[in-house]
Symmetry: C2
Subunit: 323 residues, 2 copies
């Protein structure tokens, strides 16, 4: 099956002169009027595939908006409006739908996003289709601007969401674990890094950016291919939470490298901007860790351990519900 | 179950100062930058509910875009961009998906709309979620501006789509009928009346407008309630096609009054603009028929026959697959 963007390229007229960046990045950019550039992003989530069938509706609502806002954050944009279309299965009662909307609205209010419309339908499974319209700051950040010699950074911690999912699946089989609550929350209510993204764009600090939805290595690979650079990751510098370390020990980098759904920002920046980036976390409200280096090599990712020895790449990227 | 807009009102902060018209009309209007107003509309279509399970994929693609463009037409807007999210069931092979995109893209090209992004997912049934972003002309047309004494008009013909659906359902039981082809096409490939809508807005001719998706009486009721007017329809003036007359005879106004999915424009206009409106069809490429009058009465619809006698209202509005 051809990918959606192959199909777009095949069937649609070339984007109009107002389309600055069509599909293929985290959000599409379109020029409207004087100096105004919109950032538009969409994601469809399907019950039983993107979230567990028995997931609590509040969390599903929260996360449905979060993953879409994360795409706008990854462009360094400001999220303004959201459109929400729902397919509602007979299993969900009005209390569930109410909880879904509360979760969606809570994050919407926190992020200053206005729900301007939508559509509801009966369906067999829960379908959540969200479209976010934001605007770009002076210089939106795509995946294409990384250059050899630049640093690679990531916000927050990696791998917690994947571990949280694993624990949620185990929980159903009745084995509660220490740290479980915090990790499950990272999976159920990821934080869109809107402030960090906007600060990086405003300061012209990030040369390329993406959000970590499919897993660190896979998403860094997207930047590598779009920018035409290689990437070396320092395995011992990956930011891991205390809960992650307690559960996975020192050796287990798997969930951090390929777990997916962290929705942290992964970006590249010039070496001369190191001092400015070190000052960002206080304003962005999230840690920022330097984890690697862009290289002039092939557009692929290499992982080194503390002694400089190459580590094997994780076999696959993120596959929903398989961590 | 509370309606989607009840839920929006309950859970979301009031629309920001940039939101000129949130959900509840055919499209939401949002102000962006200097004098630029966007019109945004969305519709989710679910296989087996919004189109027949065995509907040809080309037609499903075409119609999915058409019904969304129709919402922009009903605001008198210009459609610019479209975002398409698909849930694809295992039953559809790559040939079907290809045909779906061709149908979608054919209408997109005809209407000058650029596909700027989307999302594809595996799903149990075909899910099509479309979001159209357009812009409003000088004065976008809502449902709220009708005044007593104004005329009521509709573009094109009424009821053909409902008859076409009936024939499509019978066809499966093996009873082909005269006129069937043309009527089925009206159901499968409705024409979004973008030119007519834009001309009506540009000329400041329509005071209130909606597209006929749920059926004439039901959609006129939306204008009545939003504008605070009553409406009298002249039953003998409803524009019916030759195929409709041949199949339904003189007495059968049911499909024209409540059949739904015609996607024609229903609008109100001042009496002094009659001559200007009579000249529009040549430029708009579609017939425009005066079918009624706005009244100062209760916000409801009355239907009169040729002798001025009140006809019974159709019992229900449009219910998908029940005509």
């Amino acid at each position: 099956m051809a990918s959606e963007f192959d199909l777009i390229a095949r069937y649609f007229s070339p984007p109009t002169s107002h389309t600055l960046l069509a599909g293929g990045d985290d959000a599409a950019l379109i020029g409207v009027g004087e100096g105004m550039e919109l950032a538009v992003s969409t994601d469809m989530l399907v019950g039983g595939r993107h979230f567990l069938q028995d997931a609590e509706p509040y969390g599903v609502g929260y996360k449905s908006l979060a993953v879409n806002l994360s795409d706008i954050a990854a462009m360094g944009g400001i999220a303004d409006y959201v459109i929400l279309s729902l397919g509602i299965p007979p299993l969900l009662d009005s209390k569930d739908i109410d909880a879904f909307y509360r979760g969606f609205a809570t994050l919407g209010r926190e992020c200053g996003v206005a729900l301007i419309g939508g559509d509801t339908n009966a369906a067999d499974k829960l379908i959540v289709s969200v479209c976010v319209i934001g605007h770009a700051l002076a210089r939106p950040v795509t995946r294409r601007g990384a250059r050899p010699g630049e640093d690679i950074y990531v916000t927050g911690k990696l791998g917690d969401s994947a571990l949280g999912l694993k624990l949620l699946q185990r929980k159903r089989r009745g084995k509660p674990r220490l740290h479980a609550g915090a990790l499950m929350m990272r999976h159920q209510r990821p934080t869109p890094r809107l402030s960090a993204g906007a600060l990086l764009a405003k300061g012209d600090l990030a040369t390329a950016m993406i959000d970590v939805s499919d897993g660190l290595v896979q998403d860094l690979g997207h930047i590598c291919r779009a920018s035409g650079v290689g990437a070396t990751l320092y395995g011992d510098r990956l930011p891991l939470s205390a809960a992650y370390r307690a559960l996975c020990g020192k050796a287990g980098l798997g969930p951090a490298l390929s777990g997916g759904e962290d929705y942290e920002l992964l970006f590249c920046a010039r070496r001369r901007d190191r001092a400015r980036i070190e000052k960002l976390p206080a304003r962005a409200g999230v840690a920022i860790t330097r984890i690697g280096l862009c290289t002039a090599g092939e557009p692929r990712v290499v992982i080194l351990d503390a002694s400089g020895k190459s580590l094997p790449l994780p076999v696959t990227g993120h596959d929903h519900f398989k961590v």
